[in-house]
Structures are given as C-alpha cells and as structure tokens.
C-alpha cells in the first residue's frame, strides 16, 4: 500500500519543499503539493501544514492562513479522523483553526530562537511518537519567534490527563521545567495532539533532521531523530488506511 500525503503551501510557507522531500524522497510517500487557494484536498492519508511565515505573520502567526480556502477541507479531513500534522507555522495555524487547543505567543526571551533543542517523548501511544519510547530524547532544530505555548489551566489539565502532551523541551541542564528555557512554553510543551490523537502540532522541525546527510555535523552519529516522527505517521497511515 502506497501511503499518500499532501503538503499545503501558503503564501510565505518556506518549509514546504523540505517536507515534500522527506516524505517523497526519503520515506517513499506519494506526496502532492496543494496551493492554499484550492477548495479541495486530494484523497490522501496525511496532510502536512509546513513551517514558514504564512501571510507574513500579519495580525498573528497563522491567523489569516486559517481562513485560506483549503482550510475547510483540512478541517474536514481532520474531523473525519485523517492524520494531520502541523510543524511550526503549521502548528500555529492548527491552533488558530481550533483543531488543536492553546496558542503560540511571542517567545519569553523576546528573541527569535534558531538552534537545536532536545525534546523528550512523553507518550508513545500516538502515530507521531509510535517509533519512539516514552523518555526518549530527540534532538531537533527550532526556528521561531512565536513558539511560547499557552493554554488555560483547565485545558492544560485535560491535555496532561489524556496524554496529549507528546513532546516537552528539555532545558540545557537536562531538566524539564514548568516553563521551557528555549521559549517560555507552559509546561515545556513542544508538541501536542488532539483528543482523538489524529491531529499533531509541534514547534521543532523534524523535516530538518531526517537524513544523515543534513542532520547536522554537531553529532557524532548523524542526527535523523526527526525521521522517527515521520516514520511513525507513515506507519500509522499504512496500517490504518488499508
């Protein structure tokens, strides 16, 4: 069974080709690019909203992209249980669209952060994290100005209770804290899923560390930690879509 995916391209997306490359060339997923003006999506297993600066981040990150024509189809796909994955600006768009709870605010340190971060896998019972084990540390780069996750206390409690916080930032000293050092995220949230566990959002960029060639020379073994997350999604699509 060939797994199929669509990468949505907004004006200002800049990680769309990277996502297509990883899906198509690294993981052999039949991948189509879909311009945001389309009113329908092709019948695919996985929809990816890539990183970038859709609509120049005007008003709020993701606020305008969320009303692009294609988003109606993305919402339908997600509500019907289809795998949906937002990375960085894609995560911001999913929260603005109400497909994931919370919001991404200005980084606490007021700086655009562009660096490798360590994220700790919290639960492996989701498509995204199924190729990892709870407690695994993954090294994945971030590049964002608005990545400080916030959600009200009641909803955070629900997220924690239902195991929807999938990835948390590990501070440079190896600890996970209530407020992540990298951007100030509440409960150190780096990635979450919805309650149905088919919609995923994360600020770090797994598509930038999915091949040994470009995984970053900082590591003795070439870093392909991001690939494990994509492989989890692809495996779920292959298993669930048949």
């Amino acid at each position: 069974m060939t797994v199929t995916a669509a990468v949505v391209v907004f004006p200002g997306s800049n990680c769309d080709e990277d996502c297509r490359h990883v899906l198509s060339d690294v993981l052999d997923v039949s991948t189509q690019m879909v311009w945001h003006k389309e009113s329908a999506l092709p019948d695919v297993d996985l929809v990816v909203l890539p990183g970038g600066f859709s609509y120049g981040d005007y008003l709020r990150s993701g606020a305008i992209a969320r009303f692009s024509p294609v988003m109606k189809a993305v919402v339908e796909h997600a509500r019907a249980g289809g795998l949906t994955f937002g990375i960085c600006n894609g995560f911001q768009i999913l929260t603005e669209a109400g497909l994931l709870p919370g919001a991404l605010r200005h980084n606490r340190g007021l700086k655009f952060v562009c660096q490798d971060v360590t994220v700790r896998v919290q639960h492996s019972d989701s498509a995204l994290t199924s190729r990892a084990v709870a407690g695994d540390d993954l090294i994945i780069p971030v590049a964002h100005n608005e990545g400080c996750y916030y959600v009200g206390p009641e909803i955070l409690e629900r997220l924690e209770g239902e195991g929807q916080v999938l990835l948390r930032y590990v501070d440079p000293d190896g600890e996970v804290r209530g407020q992540a050092a990298v951007n100030g995220s509440l409960a150190a949230v780096a990635g979450i899923c919805n309650s149905a566990r088919n919609v995923f959002g994360m600020m770090p960029h797994p598509e930038r560390c999915s091949e040994a060639l470009v995984g970053g020379p900082a590591y003795g073994s070439k870093n392909t930690d991001g690939r494990r997350l994509f492989e989890g999604l692809v495996a779920a699509a292959a298993g669930g879509g048949a």
Binding site: L59, R60, Y150
Partner: protein, 92 residues
C-alpha cells in the same frame, strides 16, 4: 456636517489577557524603571486597529465589529478586545 452617509470608524484595542505572559510588556516595564519611572507597576502591550465602515447604523456596526474581533482580530485564547465607534470625519 457629519450627518448622513459619512460612515463609522471602529477603534479596536486588543491586549494580552491578564493571566497570559506578556514578555514585551515586561521588557518595556523594565526599561521604564531604568529611566526612573518606578511608579510603573505593569505594562501590557497589545494592538490598535482602525476599521472604517460604510454604514451609519451603530447597533448593527457594534454587533459586526464584535464578530470581527471574535473571529479574526483577537484570539480569545490569549487576548481581550474592546472598541469604540466614532462617526467618520469628526476628528475624534
């Protein structure tokens, strides 16, 4: 001469909710303190928008601007909004 057909202007203010971290406000508060304005106890930084409307119906405009804020101009998860309507051309 701002009788009929002059339209309305909505002046909209969007601010971070009080329980939400506002790093820009905190940074500006620190800068004010370093300038000697120690009486500043808190700074919140938000967004100001002027929306011109080609209607003179204040009741309808009030409802419509409220909807604009809820649907797009503010994010209710982290922001509050308020606005006032003035008649265009009054220089208010």
């Amino acid at each position: 001469m701002a009788a009929q057909g002059s339209g309305l202007i909505a002046r909209i203010v969007v601010t971070p909710r009080r329980d939400v971290l506002d790093p820009q406000g905190a940074a500006v508060q620190g800068a004010l303190a370093s300038l000697g304005f120690e009486e500043v106890s808190r700074v919140r930084i938000g967004r100001f928008m002027e929306v011109e409307l080609h209607t003179d119906d204040r009741v309808v405009a009030e409802q419509r601007v409220h909807k604009m804020c809820e649907q797009l101009l503010a994010n209710p998860v982290v922001e509050d909004f308020s606005f006032e309507l003035t008649t265009r051309g009054t220089g208010a």
